[in-house]
């Protein structure tokens, strides 16, 4: 088992004809992901290395039965593309695009929530990898193998860093979910941790947070009330100055809110182990798994 993406994933890529879109779609297919369609308005009828391209998501779903969307279009088109995928009945929408306007994200989030039929992961995320089954997005799959560690993260490269140390100690991952670094993520830690809790293959959960917002604090409460599996956390940004956006649009300490220290404290107060460095997180995870084995 795994969560969100697996052998049943039938992927349709919005923006498949763009340079990055083509490159990563084909990499995902090479990994074994079933990439069944692409959408680019005006290029319907063409194909990208054998993947049929449609003008609309509705056509793509009708003709191929696509159940998962990956959004790779530039920021100004991304909200519309996400809503089109949702309208066409796609159940899981993974938005890689970085730089979507905050008010667009707010609108998209609230529409998807109100309709209640699709799940959005991202935007501004590296995607989702279930090692050995499917890769949707830009996560470098070569560093990861199948296993029992579920990872959910606001940061891509930090995930690779931690995952790599875990892999070097002989452990693998059930699924790695990048929820993205934007202020209004479609899915947050709680949504993904709830799925890992239900997933029989996942025995330990690593969550990788960072400064800004309250998602980590709320996750801490959720974990204390609902999660039986061990959770190890990392928080980036202890040295970030207030009022400065640290790369990710959502990574900002506003006044006294959203600090790394407050997040680490909230998690530890709820019994979640917090590693001080990425290496320490991986080591704690490995020691907990070793003890369980």
């Amino acid at each position: 088992m795994s969560i969100l993406v697996d052998a049943n994933t039938k992927l349709c890529v919005s923006g498949i004809t763009g340079r990055e879109g083509t490159f990563h779609s084909l990499r995902n297919r090479d990994y074994g992901t079933r990439v069944v369609a692409g959408v680019t308005p005006g290029k319907g009828g063409q194909d990208v290395e054998g993947v049929p391209v449609f003008n609309t998501f509705h056509d793509a779903v009708d003709r191929t039965g696509a159940n998962t969307a990956m959004i790779f279009v530039p920021p100004r088109f991304a909200a519309d593309s996400i809503l089109e995928a949702e309208d066409a009945g796609i159940a899981l929408i993974i938005a890689i695009t970085e730089g979507i306007p905050a008010h667009d994200e707010l609108r998209v989030y609230n529409i998807i929530k109100k309709n209640g039929r699709a799940r959005l992961v991202g935007p501004n995320c590296p995607g989702i990898l279930s090692p050995g089954k499917a890769n949707v997005g830009i996560i470098p799959a070569a560093f990861f193998k199948e296993g029992n560690v579920g990872v959910v993260s606001r940061s891509g490269t930090l995930t690779y860093q931690i995952g790599n140390v875990v892999a070097q100690r002989g452990f693998g991952n059930s699924t790695i979910v990048g929820i993205g670094g934007d202020p209004v993520p479609g899915s947050d830690f709680i949504d993904v941790i709830a799925l890992f809790e239900q997933d029989p293959e996942t025995e330990l959960i690593v969550m990788c947070g960072e400064i800004g917002g309250e998602a980590e604090e709320r996750a801490a409460d959720f974990i204390a009330a609902n999660v039986t599996k061990p959770v190890v956390a990392y928080i980036a940004g202890f040295t970030a100055p207030p009022g400065k956006t640290m790369g990710h649009a959502g990574a900002i300490v506003s006044g006294s809110h959203g600090t790394a220290a407050a997040k680490a404290e909230a998690l530890e107060a709820r019994g979640v182990r917090v590693g001080r460095t990425p290496t320490e997180v991986a080591e704690v995870a490995v020691s907990l798994l070793g003890a369980a084995a």
Partner: protein
Amino acid sequence: MDLLEYQGKQLFARHGVPVPSGKPATSVDEAVAAAGEIGYPCVVKAQVQIGGRGKAGGIKVARNRDEAHAHAQAILGMDIRGLTVHEVWIEGASEIASEYYASVIFDRTAKAPLIMLSTKGGMDIEAVADEDPDAIARLHVDPLLGFQEFHGRRLAYEAGVDADVVRPVGAMLAKLYNVFTAEEATLVEVNPMIVTPERDVKALDAKVTLDDNALFRHAENGALRDISAEDPQERMAKERGLTYVKLDGNIGILGNGAGLVMSTLDVVAQAGGKPANFLDAGGGSKADAITSAVEVILSNDKVQAVLFNIFGGITRCDEVARGLIEAFAQIKPQVPFVVRLDGTNDKEGRQLLADADLPNVHTESTMDGAAHKVVELAGAA
């Protein structure tokens, strides 16, 4: 992007929010001329993006031409908590019967705009929130529904505004909400929002933050950026498409991916060092981007050592190595570098560096080891 007070007021005026009329000025002569047009008494207000302007002497009332001259001369060039005043805003003095507070905030946790209203205006709202949280009325607006008149009434009654201004306060909130959505702001704050003796409601201050990601839809707002307030290194980085934040220390940092760079700063600090900057070279960086990034880092003359922390995913370590070699050829850095390359093509990257045999470049295989090494080198420099 944070706007100056007067830019916010000009934005307000475009959306029908009542504001005192005024003019910006960058010289004493301009300020005196503006004051003459507006009439006395008028207020000379320092335009810097920081609170506490009044206490610092950056806001003064002028009753005549001589006072306008004296105030403009004193305020232009003044330093307010580290920021130099390059511009003043001259506006007609307002008579004040009551001072309220109003704001519309992008509440990322609730995923909805949050409107706040209080009759305790004119003071630090965070202090009010701490000492007397009930003095602030709060209401989330469903962004799919938008602001309705009843929202305004609920807030006005809950905050306890004077009964005769419930309607104009509600109308003011509707207009501020409109500014928030129409201009794609993440913050619209008015403190104080005043009631005049004639019972008019006016915005006496304006604090507006616009979403940089939405500027493509608001070309006219792009010109509002306050270049004088930007740090020179940060401006240089922005022009080169790099994400850079200047910090106080002496260890330059370059990494790929915002999370990994934040984490690198933390690990360096834990090892006893002080980072000089945050620099995310981004995913898939090519050699020329790395060369350009090294220039930005070294343009800060406090930097005594530099750490490269790369975990290659889309980014290829051999490209990073080529960029560093090119940077050494072009700018011949005088400070030591510690380079940690891991991930995609890491062996090729390390081999390139070994072959190039750059002076004072140390390679490390782990993030923790690299952090300790760079702290040691910066201390010795």
